[in-house]
Structure formats: C-alpha cells, structure tokens
Symmetry: C2
Subunit: 266 residues, 2 copies
C-alpha cells in the first residue's frame, strides 16, 4: 500500500470556499503543475513597491536528490525562462532560505453554460505553491534541471538537439530552485448545476440551452524552419503531438461526465 | 489620426530583457488581457506572511464611465469568480485607494524547437498590469460588469440566460474593480532563431529538426446537460465556437510567418 502525502494546511493555503473541490495531496497538485505550459510566479519586488510582481515562466517539479521520486513524493520546483534580472538578483541576494515566491498553474477544461449568469463557471484544474527560491549553482543539478524542463515541453527533445550546452550557454542560463513549504489544488469537473428555483420553471428551461463546451490545448502541424535540413518531422515530435492532442481532448470531454456531488451549487 | 496611448514606465514595469518584444501600448496590452480565459491575480495576504498569494480569476477590461471606449483607451479591470473571502475582505478593508494587485494574462502560441536546448522558446503573448482593487458597490455598474464578463466567455450569452440576477444572486456575487496604474506587454512571434556557431555546422543541422509547433485553445462540441430542454445548440454558441477556433488556430500559424528582427537571438 502506497502512502499518500499531503501538504500542511497553513493560513495562506487553506481553502474556505468550495472545499470539496480542494486537495492538499501532493500527487494531483504536482500533476497540475507539471502539465502546465506556463507557470505564473509572484514575488515582492521591493519593500518600497506596494505591488507584487508576476512573471510567466517555464518550470517543472522533480527531485535531484531522489531521482526515482514520483509525482506524489516531495519535489522541488525548477524554473527557467523569462527570468528578468530582477527576480534573479532578488534570489541571489536572499541570503539564507531564499526569495519567497508563489507559483500558480491553471488549466481551463470547459465552459459551464447554465440557466443563469450566476451559475456559469469553468471546468478547471488549478494549483498554487508557496516556497523559497534560490539559484541552482551546481553544474550537475543545473544540467539535470535544464534537461527535465526541455523534455517537459516535448519529451526526448533534449536528446535530439545539440548537447551538452557549451560554457557560454551554461553561463547565460539561470535555473531557480523553489523549496516548497505548502501547496493546494482545486479541481472543478462535471456538468451544469443550476438551482431549483430555475430548473423548475419551464419558461426558463425551455428558453435557455444548458451544457458544457469542452476546452483544451491543441498542438498543430509542425512547420519546418527555413534553415531546417532534416526532411521528415522526427517521431519524438509527431508522436508527442498525437498523444498530447488526444489526451487533452479526452480529459476535457471526460471531465464533463463526472457527476457533481449533491451539495454542489455551481 | 488616432492617438496611441502608452502606460507610464515605472521601475516595476520596465523591461530589461528582449526590449524589442515589449510594448507599453494600451491597445495590445488590453487585447491580451481581454482574450485570456483566466487571469492570475497576485496580492500580499498579510504583513506577517512572507509569500504573495495568486488567485486564478475571470475578468475583463472596460470603462463604465465611458462606454464607447475602445481597447486602446484607459480601462479598468473588473474581476469576478473564484474570489476567496480573503481577497474580498482585504479589498473591503483597504480604505482609500484599494488593495494593490498585480494581474497577469498569458497566451502560449507555439513551441520553438531549435538546434540547442538554449535556443528553445515559446511564441507567446503576455501582459502584466498593476493597480488598486476596490469592491464595486453601485448596482448599475455591478450588473454592467457582470454582463461584460459573462459575454467575454461566450458573446451574447448574458441575453440568452435567465436575467436579471435576483437579489440573492446580486448579494452573493462580488466584482472587484482594479484602477490600473501601469502595465506592460510582451509578444514573441516568428520562427526559430539559432546562433551561427550551430547553423554553420552540418553535423548539427543534418541531425536536429527545427521548426515551430503552433499551439492554440480549442473549443469542442457542446455537450447538452441532462436537464437541458432546448433541442438545438443555439447560434450564439455554435457561431462563437467556430469563430474562436478558426481565429485561435490562425493566430498561432500566422505568428510563425512573421520574420524575426535581425538582432533576435532566441
């Protein structure tokens, strides 16, 4: 019997609304993060600035120390990409435990079209993590994280490119490692859920169409670059596109079929 | 000649990296926000908590005072949806100018698959706004914002549902109005951009396929609810799905064809 780990409930990640949709389980939360093409990362830019900052970043969760870890195990979040010098400098300057950040991942899976504007909603999956970000300095861990993040965009892509990165590339690439202290997830699936005051009125139900429009991310046909010299699109790309498109559509359609719990309002 | 308004550059929204991709123009920034199905909203939950919070929310920009405003005019951002009581209470308690928030909207338009992991990227559009959030208390403005947000999910949906909202629905719905103080956008389009050290090496170019995989959001076939009594899916839904799917795909494919500026690295 496997154990199921959960994040501790602190004030900052405890849900008050639609609690039955919430989860603190590491597995579902990490799965939402690792399947998101973009993570939104928030931090306080300076004590003088009243506004938090948000950066869209590419990232992935994994464990460098325990490579055999699964999605349900404790993982770190590695971030790469459009790291402005501000977040890098803040993380570099944060002696000790690191820069406090919040990481959010959200998937929209369907439009819930119901009898009243109030009962309209989305099917969605969202995850939020809090943790401390530091720069990865060890070369081995940095390459490991770069490979993990590249292969999260297209599996096996790393191995099919010119590797390893040279000295200049290693220098110009920054990887942030976020040690997670808490997290939570929310999943809304199912169909329409209207209130009796409307479902019992034929003048309403005969006028308003209700149902769900599934929503998913589609990958189109690969368009070769003008300098590309490889005739056929390689199998690691075509098979990923086919798999991801089928999986994304299937999730959005399957999500509709799950009956809502009785206490659901909308 | 129309004038083109731009957001003021402050330290918190000034870009240091890939400046040529950046924009401070109101039109493109507001367009990115208003076409995003989800906005990520960040705020500081309490002086004791080191971590910012992020909420995924549904929102839309518009002007209640100047209804004829276009996307290039000064607009407020109205937020609705999974408003935890925390953000509502904070906005309610923020006497005076409101709760400082950061709002981010991001679209992924393509995977840039290039010769090296370092030159991999996304085609994307992202926008970030800073502003002060207060609760909308006027009934007329609240209904106007609810209608605008509902019709941003599916145009004309508001008019095709049971309206107006009753007293209980008005009470249970909260709308935040964010007065924007600055904003910025970033748009990455075009194709692959590798460095000469790789494009000149046949042992690399003959091995690695390079190109772009367009990415877009697809709306599937509407699935009627078990209680739905309207036989045909109404035209306001079917025509939106057809239009949005064609437009989303077209944008992702067209984005690849735009040549990159010469100074582009990746």
């Amino acid at each position: 019997m496997g154990k199921s780990l959960v994040y501790p409930k602190r004030e900052s990640n405890t849900m008050n609304r639609y609690k039955h949709r919430g989860t603190y389980d590491l597995g579902p939360i990490h799965s939402i993060v690792n399947s998101a093409p973009v993570l939104h990362v928030s931090f306080a830019p300076s004590p003088d600035d009243p506004f938090p900052a948000i950066l869209p970043m590419i990232g992935q969760m994994g464990s460098f120390d325990y490579p055999s870890s699964g999605l349900g195990d404790p993982l770190d979040c590695y971030l790469h990409g459009y790291v402005s010098s501000r977040i890098m400098n803040l993380a570099r300057a944060s002696n000790g435990e690191g820069l406090p950040v919040c990481i959010a991942a959200t998937h929209v899976d369907g439009l819930i079209l119901s009898l009243t504007p109030n009962s309209h909603s989305y099917n969605y999956r969202s995850a939020v993590l809090h943790g401390y970000a530091t720069l990865v300095t060890g070369e081995e861990e940095k390459i490991w994280a770069m490979k993990m993040i590249t292969n999260a965009v297209v599996p096996q892509r790393w191995e099919h490119t010119r590797i390893p990165p040279d000295g200049a590339e290693m220098q110009s690439t920054t990887i942030l490692k976020v040690r997670i202290v808490d997290g939570s997830g929310k999943i809304r699936d199912g169909g329409v859920s209207d209130e009796k005051k409307d479902t019992g009125k034929s003048e309403v139900t005969e006028k308003v169409w209700t149902g769900v429009v599934p929503v998913w991310q589609t990958f189109g046909e690969p368009l070769p670059d003008k300098l590309n010299k490889v005739k056929e699109v390689p199998e690691h790309i075509t098979s990923y596109i086919a798999t991801a498109n089928a999986r994304n559509q299937q999730y959005a359609v399957d999500a509709v079929k799950i009956p809502l719990p009785k206490e659901e309002v909308h």
